[in-house]
Symmetry: C2
Subunit: 515 residues, 2 copies
């Protein structure tokens, strides 16, 4: 093989010609072992039709790599070669990993704050619409897209997909043993396009909105599809594995044990160990995110004041990927008004979690962003750009909620800290004065009042502490309900305000390199 | 005795002179047996100072009543007399009872929809302020006031009470064995004033905001105080017994068993069997409202979408007496903005519960409505008057929530029915079309769109059903997600709207006689 050069976290691909007869998808096993010094990685390969076999690999370490292929077919076995992994291209930071237990960072250590959106079936739409979607994403504040491998059969989603994910047979049914290579190629190309835009692809592997038969594949077919998907896609640095959308609506055909197995199949096959999660339908039927193979909690739940509780319960990062969508469709999940959605963003993030977007405005052409992409028309998007800007300018290690389950204050008012930076978000509360959660020392602090809807940041001076009053406690003693804060703030007495307090910054500051 | 006439549910009072020496509060037992036909009721009496003893009784049945007194003091024992109970005065309907399991009605059967407010210590303020409070209540939309027997020591509540509830000793402490008769007389007079205004007095018997020692009375003193209070007040038709405000903050001095005993003491002593409830501080520490001596659930919790769950959990009427207060104080419980509070009213009521009001706006004179009364300045009051008007015009038997725990729709959108009247409240949701929960027949319905903040009621025509789509279910079958409704409605796509649908009314209609 040639001594190719591949930038770190880009894709090295080795292509081979092999048997085209029979059904190589079922019959042929192919893969490679990649070596860097004494380190080896086992990388599954895949059949791409017309006798073409490929092994894809994304090197995470600079230097010389060697590989040799393995297969039960002689023509594909024992090929070998070397390549050099060079420095990452500018803006390429590697896969996103869990960071500081409840947060995320790219593999190069840069903090990653997920601001996702949902376009379930955008890659299955006509190409001009896909172009429009990508155009919209260029200026949108999103750095993650939830998107399904399979097309979607659902209200406002009745058009045929661009490509069949599995081959259509003469009788109109699909042959779940014969992948639509063109469909997979197109899907992964779009994943790659997103990667170049700095957008993570949160890939939904199964979902229940189906008229093609994808919901009722056999266990063997499911597992094979999963291994195939991982072999094709794991080399894309921006891949996240979302085992399902609303997995609990699929339990009739895929019982719980199979989901556990799916997670382990990914673990065994993915050399890059991308993030793995699973999305619930009924908020009461979350998968047990404490299981070791779940990397972060994907939540569907509008009760966002529980964010800190979810963190405590699962001990992992929380992304509320479906806190309801902004829109006006006659479906209960798709008609939240934008002020409340923006409120949920701040409640969630200032409780140490992350939250995602979707848009479901009725349209005559049925092109709703949440499923098909296209254009954005909601009012929350600008405010999501605003909170992203604020948070990327503020967060270093990630926000940790204050007194999550014990304090009666923190159940109503969101408060969190990241080192010596702190946030308070009052949501529907409108105090004229406040000091709970403010610094206990009288240092030189930059105090910013943030109007989350009007997108203003107003510096505030230190103010007096609010009045306190002694209260009786156990056995007749008293305690003064002082906050411990060295100062307070005076506020305008209106709702939907946040406060950021941090040591005054001098000289040049560096933000994140996100997006 | 004279053959007095007492109107039904008014107060018959028999006064006697007896011993004044020693401490009759501790030493003398007095009471009476009241007879109507073969029915007898045991009525405790009380000492009112200066050798005066009284037995008060509120007859619930018209006709001739006989009584004879009982006492361990000869001078108070064996007195007897008769009186005639005549028809109730206009507007007098008797005590409020639980009605249809989850609702309330006066004893005469008139439905009572509680619209309470909170003025914890209004009867302990200067008399001119008390007059102002009563003046405010005359035009306010409230028909229940939460008010404490004891004064309040708390932030914004540091002034001395008008009267000492127990006698002050020379050293400044209070003698919990010697009631302040003037204090009790004043308190019950104000309860009586409220009765004449058609307002229920939700009497808070214990609370933790104390500098006088009421929190640390002995068990014997607590029980005696409770029996005394019941003897004095049970004859007032508008009394509700609220065992405590935030009872869980008193558990250090009054362990749980004592609360159970308190309930039973009231049951044993109250001939009129007024409603009994108990208010929690921490939402996670509710008293077990399933206990048989609890008549209705008094809830402090801002998570009002749980209202239907609380109904199911406890099987009793739910009154969320503290869903946060409208105001701007720097305390987490007292600075909710009014739109959200109004939203909570509609969410609660259209889930089959009831909800209460309080106001905590900062004032230089510390006269905050929630504790002291005075005047109202919030924006929610007018909207509470509006929902009260709507509900009193609509409810006959009480609202029953639709599919409380099973339906994914009803967890987000409030829906309930009362016979053939139905309500839907979308809160933060803004669908352009809707039909879930609308009638299954195409009858002649009056459809009213209610803007809960702007207080408008707009008739709507029937509209088309929203589009539906078949969805895959168990094992590959499909189901069409039709609502079953015969028609839909077209909506303006804005939040905070409710819908009332009922058979078109013709001719003259009767509302409630409330308030």
């Amino acid at each position: 093989m040639t001594n190719a050069t591949v930038a770190r976290w880009d894709i090295f691909e080795h292509t081979m010609q092999g048997p085209a007869e029979g059904n190589p998808y079922l019959d042929v096993t192919v893969g490679a072992v990649f070596r860097h010094g004494n380190r080896t990685l086992t990388v599954p390969g895949f059949y791409d039709g017309n006798g073409v076999y490929k092994v894809r690999f994304s090197p995470d370490t600079e230097g010389e790599w060697h590989f040799s292929t393995t297969s039960d077919v002689a023509a594909l076995d024992g090929a070998s070669g070397t390549f050099v992994c060079g420095p990452a291209r500018p803006g390429v930071r590697g896969p996103v990993r869990v960071h500081n237990q409840f947060h995320f960072a790219y593999e190069d250590g840069t903090v990653y704050l997920p601001f996702g959106t949902t376009c379930y079936a955008w890659t299955h739409q006509p190409l001009d619409l896909q172009e429009q979607t990508l155009e919209t994403l260029k200026t949108a504040p999103f750095n993650k897209v939830r998107m399904g491998v399979f097309p979607k059969d659902y209200i406002y989603n009745t058009n045929d997909p661009l490509h069949d994910v599995f081959e259509k047979k003469a009788d109109g049914t699909h042959d779940m043993d014969r992948p639509g290579f063109e469909a997979f190629r197109h899907f992964e190309n779009q994943v790659g396009t997103l990667a170049e835009m700095g957008i993570e692809a949160d890939i939904i592997i199964f979902h229940p909105y189906d008229r093609w038969g994808y919901c009722t594949m056999t266990e063997e077919q499911d597992n094979r599809y999963l291994r195939y998907l991982v072999a094709r896609l794991a080399a894309y640095r921006n891949v996240w594995w979302s085992l399902a959308n609303e997995y609990d609506f699929l339990l009739d055909t895929k019982p719980m044990e199979r989901w556990d197995t799916f997670f382990r199949i990914i673990e065994e096959n993915d050399p890059s160990q991308h993030l793995k999660s699973i999305h619930n339908g009924d908020p009461a039927k979350s998968y047990n995110h404490r299981r070791p193979w779940v990397d972060h909690c994907c939540i569907q739940n509008w009760e966002v004041k529980k964010t800190a509780e979810w963190r405590e319960e699962y001990g992992k990062p929380v992304i509320n990927d479906e806190p309801e969508y902004e829109g006006n469709v006659p479906k209960h999940w798709g008609n939240c008004e934008p002020h409340e959605l923006v409120n949920r963003y701040w409640i969630t993030m200032v409780r140490g979690g992350y939250i995602g977007h979707g848009e479901t405005f009725m349209r005559d052409d049925d092109v709703l962003w949440w499923a098909k992409g296209g254009t954005l028309e909601g009012q929350s998007v600008a405010r999501i750009a605003f909170i992203r800007e604020i948070m990327e300018d503020s967060i270093i290690d990630g926000l940790t909620p204050v007194s999550t389950t014990t304090s009666r204050v923190s159940r109503r008012v969101a408060m969190s800290t990241d080192g010596d930076t702190r946030f308070i978000y009052w949501s529907e509360h409108q105090p004229l004065q406040w000091d709970v959660g403010l610094p206990e020392d009288d240092g030189d602090y930059e105090i910013d009042l943030i109007d989350v809807w009007n997108m203003t940041v107003t510096p505030l001076p230190k103010g007096p502490n609010p009045r306190v009053h002694s209260q009786r406690i156990s056995g007749g003693g008293t305690v003064s309900n002082v906050s411990g804060a060295a100062f307070g703030v005076e506020l305008p007495g209106k709702p939907y305000l946040a406060l950021r307090v941090r040591p005054r910054r001098t000289g040049k500051e560096t933000g994140h390199g996100n997006g």
